[in-house]
Amino acid sequence: MSRCLTERRLVHLQAGLGNPGEQAHVDACPACAGRLDALTRDLDVLTRVLARGPQPHIRPAPSFRHWIPAAAGAGALALAALLWVEVAVWRAATYVPPSMRPEEASAMLTEVSLALFSLRGYTPAPAQAAEEAADEDTNICDGADWLVTAGCTPAQLAHAGLASPPGEEPR
């Protein structure tokens, strides 16, 4: 008896591509006959499956870890969109009246801070105090009659047109 056929020879024989000697061996060898039967059964299953066509696939539900990058990306996009709206849209669309320049606001806030938190009482800056004193000196006798203080000299009152100069009759 010749040696048993290899799987390759059996495949060829099953496909009708063998030779008469191989067929004769299979007819005489129960082991090879059994292997050929098994091969035929397997091919029957394979052809049945393939002839039915591809089976329907069910789309698997994506696992939670697949959502993490998507959620992180969506969050980053939302944050970027908010920042863009704040910077580019909101500020451009909002009207800020030019009531106070930045340096004026800064000076005012400084004065308020000094007034609120000074331990020894608030005193205006020297330059400002002198300016205010000058304003008082020039304006104290310069207003309407009912505002004129008793400290005004006749000359000052005359200068303001509120009294006659010395030596003249009062109006």
């Binding site: 799987e7 390759r8 495949v11 060829h12 496909a15 009708g16 591509l17 091969l39 397997d42 091919l43 029957d44 299953v45 394979l46 052809t47 049945r48 499956v49 393939l50 002839a51 039915r52 066509g53 591809p54 089976q55 329907p56 696939h57 789309r59």
Partner: protein, 170 residues
């Protein structure tokens, strides 16, 4: 029989077979239908240039196999397959289910199709033509332009790989 009549007869007699063949090679029935249309257009153009073939069957089969191979090798086909693997597909061959068919588990069918799709083009073509189209070795060799020895080699490798998968599924 005039040329037009021969072409129309060939379309009628080979359309179903080519649709099934292309469906197996491509794994998608809709794509197979498009390829079959393309095959008949190519066949008509070729027939007008060179005249009708001696045997329509192998000639149309050769065109269909080459067209399917061109589709699979195109870049967009790979992308399409990845997505279409997820969607429901219709059976290519409409035949009643036998008890033997019902006995094949869903897992086995999935494994077989997965293995079949991973076969190289030539192995897949030879396997389909031999075991599903029931062509002989010399006919396959003539249709694909291969030597008989090459056909036997591709056939053995395809059967071996498919059987390995089948053994794992048991």
């Amino acid at each position: 029989m005039d040329t037009a009549q021969g072409y129309e007869n060939a379309v009628d007699s080979h359309r179903g077979r080519l649709r099934r063949l292309c469906g197996l090679l491509l794994g998608d029935s809709q794509e197979a239908e498009e390829v079959v249309q393309e095959v008949f257009v190519k066949a008509l153009e070729s027939e007008r240039r060179q005249g009708p073939p001696n045997d329509w069957g192998p000639w149309l089969t050769r065109i269909a196999v080459n067209t399917c191979r061109d589709r699979r090798r195109a870049g967009w086909w790979q992308r399409f397959r990845r997505w279409s693997d997820q969607v429901e597909q219709v059976a290519i061959v409409d035949r009643g289910l036998t008890p033997e068919d019902e006995a094949i588990s869903s897992e086995t069918r999935g494994r077989v199709w997965q293995a079949f799709r991973t076969l190289p083009d030539r192995q897949r073509e030879v396997f389909v033509l031999r075991h599903l189209e029931d062509w002989s070795g010399p006919e396959i060799a003539a249709a694909l332009g291969l030597s008989p020895g090459t056909v036997k080699r591709h056939l053995f490798r395809a059967v071996h790989r498919m059987r390995v998968v089948l053994g794992d599924a048991r």
